[in-house]
């Protein structure tokens, strides 16, 4: 009898529940309860975290590794962790927890730490149980919660309990993809908000797609204000509170001993007249002379190093570099502001969430003849006047003075600013294709080439490096006479010239020679795998490429076939390839443009049509026959 009872209970459960049986590890439960208390104008904030995971298979026991990260603004307490084996009803405690310091190649020094441990005796069927408290010391860093993470979660719950005289703000992101239940409760003194989501899928990142936070269903929470003695005290009620807090940190910047900074500024600008020239000279000096080294050290992670120190040590993080620019520009009377900004990895807007989650970067904004110029010297190769590519489209929070700020969106840099022109002359000598080619690279195309060349060439020879990066012709392409001009000169195009010998490139079949003038097949393999793809395709910058290829028909031959013009036109991307005959020379004109920073999922089919059509055009050969 009891069997039937069980069965009936089980059925509705199965109907609404996914079983995730293909996964190796899932969370049965991930619950976070935040308790906010307030006494004598001091917040006491504790997150209680409860997690329960389960091994569905024993394929990947790596999930037994657990780490709990925290910065100097929080503290981890009362960790209780154990493995539970349902089949034997055994519980095995975690008896060893290590504290380790965060360390990665991107950040030179950080005071972030993590608690690291392993769940013991895990195997198929084992459950991992974890409870701990996180004490939040800075009320502006309430943080957020992800309803979905890299593995599936059966029950994800966020709850926040706060005194009735406190107001909190919360913003949902990407929750349209899940069913999120919300409930408000109250006790005599507190409000409790609870959000529940069930059976959320595991999320995996994809190449060339936006950062995970653009997709993960999550919530950001913050304390807006509290009332005390009939007075309202704002914490992060709106953007002006965030700005006020930033100003209080900026007030702590060391502004002493700037003589040397001013001396250098005067030296590099004294011979220049216009503000633009001066600003350019200052920007390039910082780009060339200050080495980027990232630090993350408590409030030091928010307060820029003083300009005098940055100038002396010749290194600094984004804040240090932007602060030095700020001091130097203002010294020569160029209107310049310290500016907070999020990189394209951050999906947030200051207007929607007035918290530090929005930004992760600092730059300087200068106003020259009514133009706002965004200066980011952490990119050592970007030309003056262009922002670093990774902050395009983002809101820049410009600090005007102690009270006033302004938000301006960093404009998308037009494709014409990153235009590369390629001119090639091709001849055919004894079935070897000989090419002399000249490339003029500008804008982000140049920035990318220069920084890759400097940092990724390693011990490769110049020939090998170009061969693997440009991938021209076939894998028998041989480079000679390589020259680079204006490599260091940021404002003007980089000229790259070389000669190529390409063996086994033409196909001689019967008495015909087939030669394909598309030795550069840019974008040919950039189609999107639509079937399994989940997220939009991110493009780093807009660009244009214009090719002119002149082919000298060898003596004794004539071109019996020249391909027709092919093009694909869309406002966001497209190409055109056409051929013209001029005596014994055939000229191919090819232009490609990308005028968008993102291809959304519903645009994939059109994008793939574009790539397919481009590949089809790339396949077209000229046919030569003997006269």
């Amino acid at each position: 009898m009891s069997k039937y009872f069980f069965f009936f209970l089980l059925v509705p459960f199965l109907c609404i529940s996914q079983d995730f049986s293909d996964d190796d590890y899932i969370y049965l439960k991930r619950h976070e309860h935040i308790k906010i208390s307030l006494s004598d104008d001091k917040f006491d904030i504790v997150q209680n975290i409860t997690e329960q995971g389960k091994f569905i298979s024993s394929k990947n026991l790596y999930y037994a590794n657990e780490s709990i990260g925290y910065s100097s603004f929080s503290e981890i307490k009362d960790i209780e962790a154990f493995t539970y084996i349902p089949s034997t009803d055994k519980r095995i405690e975690v008896d060893y927890i290590e504290t380790k310091q965060e360390f990665d190649n991107m950040i030179f020094y950080s005071d972030d730490e993590y608690k690291s441990f392993i769940f013991p005796a895990v195997a198929k069927g084992a459950e991992t149980h974890l409870n701990y408290k996180r004490i939040i010391k800075e009320p502006r860093f309430l943080g957020g919660f992800n309803f979905a993470i890299h593995v599936p979660t059966k029950s994800a719950q966020l709850s926040v309990e706060f005194p009735k005289n406190v107001e909190i703000g919360y913003v949902e992101f990407n929750t349209e993809s899940i069913k999120l239940e919300f409930k408000k409760e109250e006790t005599a003194t507190s409000n409790i908000y609870t959000w529940n989501a069930y059976d959320t899928d595991g999320y995996e990142g994809e190449d060339d797609s936006e950062a995970a936070m653009y997709y993960l269903p999550h919530m950001l929470l913050y304390i807006k204000s509290y009332e005390t003695n009939d007075k309202k005290v704002n914490i992060l009620n709106d953007l002006s509170d965030l700005y006020k807090w930033y100003v209080s940190l900026i007030d702590q910047v060391d502004t002493d001993s700037l003589e040397n900074v001013y001396k250098i500024t005067d030296e590099i600008t004294s011979s220049l007249d216009s503000k633009e020239d001066k600003a350019k000279a200052i920007f390039e000096w910082v780009q060339n002379n200050i080495n980027y080294i990232a630090f993350g050290d408590g409030y030091g992670g928010f307060i820029p190093t003083g300009a005098a120190s940055t100038c002396e040590t010749r290194y600094g993080d984004c804040k240090a570099m932007s602060n030095l620019l700020y001091e130097m520009l203002n010294h020569v009377d160029i209107e310049a502001y310290r500016t907070w900004i999020g990189s394209r990895n951050k999906p947030y807007s200051y207007y929607k969430v007035p918290t530090t989650s929005v930004d992760d970067h600092m730059i300087t904004a200068a106003i020259i003849e009514n133009d706002t110029i965004f200066l980011d010297a952490t990119d050592s190769y970007v030309p003056f006047g262009m922002p670093s590519a990774f902050i395009q489209t983002k809101e820049a929070l410009m600090g005007i003075d102690d009270k006033n700020f302004k938000i301006i969106k960093v404009p998308i840099q037009k494709s014409s600013q990153s235009k590369t022109t390629i001119t090639s002359n091709i001849t055919l000598e004894n079935s070897t294709v000989k090419v002399s080619e000249k490339r003029a690279l500008q804008g982000y195309d140049k920035v990318e080439f220069v920084s890759d060349y400097i940092y990724k060439k390693d011990s490769k020879t110049e020939e090998e490096y170009l061969n693997t990066t440009l991938a021209l012709g076939n894998n028998k392409t041989n480079y000679t006479n390589i020259s680079k001009t204006n490599f260091d000169n940021k404002g003007i195009p980089l000229i790259l010239e070389y000669d190529l010998d390409i063996d086994s490139y033409t196909r001689n079949i019967g008495n015909k020679i087939y030669i394909n003038l598309n030795i550069d097949r840019s974008l040919s393999n950039s189609d999107v795998e639509i079937k399994d793809r989940k997220y939009s395709k991110k493009i780093d910058y807009q660009f244009e490429r214009d090719f002119t290829t002149n082919f000298q028909i060898p003596e004794g031959y004539y071109a019996s076939y020249i391909p027709d013009e092919i093009s694909f036109e869309d406002p966001n991307y497209g190409f055109k390839i056409s051929y013209a005959r001029n005596g014994s020379v055939i000229t191919q004109s090819k232009s490609i443009y990308i005028k968008t920073l993102s291809v959304k999922k519903d645009g994939f089919e059109n994008w793939n049509r574009f790539i397919k059509s481009l590949r089809k055009a790339y396949k077209k050969s000229i046919i030569l026959e003997q006269i």
Binding site: Y96, N291, Y455, N467, S504, I509, D532
Partner: protein
Amino acid sequence: MIKKIAFIALLISTTSSFAQHFRTYDWEKNPKLHEINKEEQKESSIAILKKHIVEYVSNVISPEPKLYETEHTIIRVNDDNGIAQHNTVYIPMYEVRKVVNIKARTISPSGKVVLLNQDNIKEVSNVEEYGDFKIFAIEGVELNSEIEVLYTVEKNYEIYGSQTLQANYKVKEAQFLFITGKLESNVKAYRTLETFEEVKINGDNAQLLTIKDIPGMVEEEYATPKANNIAVVYQCFTEGQNITQNMFWTNVSNNVGRQFFPETIVSQATEDVNKIVEGKTDLTNFKKAALVDIFIKSNYTIVKNNNQELSDLNYILTNRSSSDYGILKVYGQYLKALDVEFEIVITANRFLTKFDPEFFVPGMLRDFLIYIPSEKKYIAPDRFEGRIGEAPFNILGNYGLFISSDFEHYFSKIIQEDPDYSRIRRDMNISFNNDFESVKIEQDQDYYGHWSETSRAVLSLSTEQGITEYKDYLTGSGIEDKEILSYEAFNTDMNQLEYNIPFKVKTTISSEELLEDAGDSYIFQIGLVIGTQSELYQETERINPIEMIYPNRYNYEIIVNIPEGYSVEGLESLIIDKSYVARNGEKTAKFESNYKLEKNKIVITIEEYYKTHEFDLNRYEEFREVINAASDFNKAAILFKAVE
């Protein structure tokens, strides 16, 4: 009288401790930039000096000598990459008893000297598995400046040590100064013709190795550059002690043997073993070892942290967590319980270290394997994607210390018993649809050995995207418009009980782009059906000896069905024959492709193999030709012409 002798002895020791070299060793008072030539200016960075001083000092208070290590480097940085490589300094505090001093300075092209502000030295603790560090950023670095770092640490006494003298940038002068005074010592240098010179440092015996103009180590394909750096190993004994290499090895064998060859089986292990064999009594040694390997890899986690208990057998058996060292005890218990004779092998990853049986330094003893002599097979306990079989590819070719159950030891090169262990068999059937609109390729493939291990691991453990990319590889990479019509894989479970069971995959793909319309004919780019093959470049002189990942073999049969009403031309591009003949006359590598016309079929056969993973550096060109033959085949194209 005795008192007097003691007094004199003490006096001598104190004097000699005043004479410690590191106390007087210093950098130039008034530094100037060093001259470098034009070629050197083109490099991102070069070391003007890379000096290491290892100083053992007899200690009156304890029998253990004191150990001081001094590092002194001067690096010229010529571009942003050079600056980025050298403007942050990490000093490991592993086994460091005391930091004697740390200093650093930058000498700019204008001669300005910026000293490191000592307050900016930061400490990081317990970083991954590397321990603590002192770190700092170099101050005042400009292009073309020199970064000079000098520090001395006192370390806990260790008998042995090693030092790499070569770097991935040029070193104009490398020095290794080994000061041992009256203590017995040994020192050996690898991969250099220079020899140690006997010198006296403040009256103490010392040996100095100076090497000028060491080229920067380059990354090359089919090579183990990290393991090929010029390096030094050394040993220095306590007073009156002298240990031979054989004594060291015997000591290790006894220690290791005692820990891993159990006398008794603990009850938990017996219980586990009963579960493992499930009552079967007729299992071969191979099957028993395979079952043990599968059980351990499905139930234990290998952990890298400082928990000492992870090497304790009972703790490991209860918590099912172990250090990479402790897990061998579990193998020992299970194999002994099942009566499987085994040996412990201590060796090293050949991509990082070349194991030297003639000089003992624990730094070379990094990897443990279990060898089953009756089967001539290995188990790699810490490779959770691997299962019993031939030696792991990263160990192959290195020497190992083999320890048997009686704690006796011997050295042997770790070889692959079956040269055809890793191989791919591939059959393709190619036909054309709708009058040459598209090509259909049916493929039937078997992957053996390391190929099968990788395939199973990727498909079982990788991310969705990783799996998609691997399927692309399995169905023929580089065919840009490829459409996968069917895909079926067999024997995909990582846990296999039989030796070298192939991973099988059957697929059908179609592509339009492999065909090109050429007036009244069609060009078929048949060379691309074998997937993109990379070309091996060598514009500068090859430096590293040739070492492949593992020996392997490919056997392909490609059948092309000629459509009715068409003839075929250009078949000669399918004939390629390149081989590498070893000194003993044996053909050890080859790529051979050929074809036969059988009625309306072209039958193409490709045989490519590498019977060993090591090839002669002097014959690099021949090796390269064999490797590149596959990419030559990529360019093969045939023409279908309508029969008039």
